[in-house]
Symmetry: C2
Subunit: 416 residues, 2 copies
Amino acid sequence: MKPIVTILSTGSELTAGRSIDTNSGWIAVQLGELGWKVNRFVVMPDDPRIILSELKALQLQAKENPDVPSLVIMTGGLGATEDDYTLQCALELSGQKMVINEKANIRLKSLYAARGKSYTDILPTVMRQIHYPENSYVLENGSGLAVGFVLNLSENAYLACMPGVPTEMKDMYKKRLLPFLKRTFEKGELYQKNRWIWGIGESLFQAEFISKQKDLLDAGMEWGVTAQKGFIKAIFQAEREDLVDQAIARLKDAYPNQNTEDVFSFLHETLRLNKQTISVAESCTGGLLGGKITDVPGSSAYFLGGHLVYSNEQKINLLGVSADLIGKFGAVSEEVCKAMLVGLEKSIPSDFQLAITGIAGPEGGSEDKPVGTIWIGRKRKGSDPEAFLYQMPGNREMVRESAVNTALYLLSKLLK
Amino acid sequence: MKPIVTILSTGSELTAGRSIDTNSGWIAVQLGELGWKVNRFVVMPDDPRIILSELKALQLQAKENPDVPSLVIMTGGLGATEDDYTLQCALELSGQKMVINEKANIRLKSLYAARGKSYTDILPTVMRQIHYPENSYVLENGSGLAVGFVLNLSENAYLACMPGVPTEMKDMYKKRLLPFLKRTFEKGELYQKNRWIWGIGESLFQAEFISKQKDLLDAGMEWGVTAQKGFIKAIFQAEREDLVDQAIARLKDAYPNQNTEDVFSFLHETLRLNKQTISVAESCTGGLLGGKITDVPGSSAYFLGGHLVYSNEQKINLLGVSADLIGKFGAVSEEVCKAMLVGLEKSIPSDFQLAITGIAGPEGGSEDKPVGTIWIGRKRKGSDPEAFLYQMPGNREMVRESAVNTALYLLSKLLK
């Protein structure tokens, strides 16, 4: 039976707005794969009174509803500094005493020995990290020192505590907590698929597609949409595989020319496999396209390089675009975009070329070419250049990211 | 008197982990400037039962502590879709009826008229957006339709509701809610300064600097640190100006060669003022440096362009780096970094040149040159090239961002 889920995180840097809680969202996505929904995220400062009062309220709620299974997942506050209070709060809540985890103790001793220090040098706050409440279920830490644990809050309610360091938490979740959760709250297998749709917003998709899937939704399918820059990602989930497959088939039908799988991994795999190379010429994106391509480790197999031609001078100087052409049509035009591609191929002989020129704003727009006007060009070695016009919505950042993503989408269609 | 603050946000996309709540952190930073601390963030799905039960608990708490002022700020759920429940919950909580905001009504009518639609076409959910609970304080929306409001929860407790769209919320906070908050919870003036420190981590800074400022902290100064990529930002805050100034003076003393103001705005202002130009040559950052520079509107005044030389071939082809030099010292070397600068100046004659070559990982490291080894070069037109070696910590993303920020830091020192 699916539990009622609350996700807690602690850290004064979070409630002061100095850092953003990304752990809770990550955990929610993992739980979503089990088909579980989260009732609330609560973010608290490193203040034991606030933490304990929240935990006590959740425990009371669980005790008052003994038939409904519930789960609280908490991250943070298990470290070695003075403002880590999670263990202390868990002990007070459960009335248990703390016990040492021998495996972690051995790791800690050898760590100190390796640094030429003796066991007696270890600070009490460091020692606290390898303790957990007696009678709780230990979550071993595969990448750090702090031990996690799962406490019984009441008959049918659990509190899982994990470190706040994202790498340690994610590793602990996957290897330790997830198997525990599956065993404890048996679940039906969930089937999930997703699809990217280009050049459409979340609300339009909801109005013109989702609203027509009443039969699938009534039969138990769930859906979600993530708005990205330039595309949306639609996710379908159900216990019945056929419902999800039906939804995907209808989606392909409704958006025949603008639905794709994950374009970024497709490009990476295909270019590597085909041993083909690419290069870029960027004006308004100023390097973001090259930056996005090289975000991926191993992109050196196909990304040769490119030109940043932010100024007209450099379009002329580096790509050999003629000054007359720029004068006649403007730097943001089909003609200049195509000339950028031709010049790029001459300068860097790659198998495919991409070029972007546009008006990212907030200044520089006109009636003819408002902010968001973007020409994106693509070319295959030896073929004619092609250029496509877009009107990208949003602010400077959104326009630039949409342009970058859309350029990679156009390349992926050429590679198909 | 400072209120006890809770920040709520609603949105099923948040609790499903499909998007991240950035509004709460932004509001916490604003409140931090008033010297107010936040007790909890709570993130909830678009579920009126969950929202109402949270609001009722907060109202009860406020009623039980009538002497302590309290403030709840809530974002989201004021839109025009069926899963927007904030107004409904506020009405139920307060027992007020809803009334129309005439200003917003006039805007909505003219919007519909402009689209050639009549007033009667307006959907009820759209109409709901321009309503608010009677006897509440209206927060007008300067950039969107949905009206915000502040309700009395009890004698000394307020609930402020704003839209979840970040641009609308931020505008409404600054222009409407902030003046209300200042009037309602009179505060002592707070004095604040910050400083950037390069090449040092948060914990070392805390251990070697903050720990020695006990006198200032005891006298009432508060501090904070934000870890960035390549630098940290230290923030000092107090009602007494002299405490903050003292802290800044000591910081400059402790880190004489690595403390700066905001390097990114300094560069933008200085280059514009001096009418000087820059260009870049990027290897492992693949365009991120150009991308960062052109994030700033108006950067076309000084950023001419650059070369992405991700492959060795293109270092030779575009920058004229000699193949022998790469063979002898490797692409990640002082020699190649300097040769990139010299080639860049020849190709793009700007006043200043920046170059980056390094190993971003996760592959490509060796014993001599482990992952994170980065050479960053800077050059002034006609002067000798300089190159600086860094060992950047963290994963690929962190290494690349640190390299980009550090390159801009090195340029700012050259401009001083």
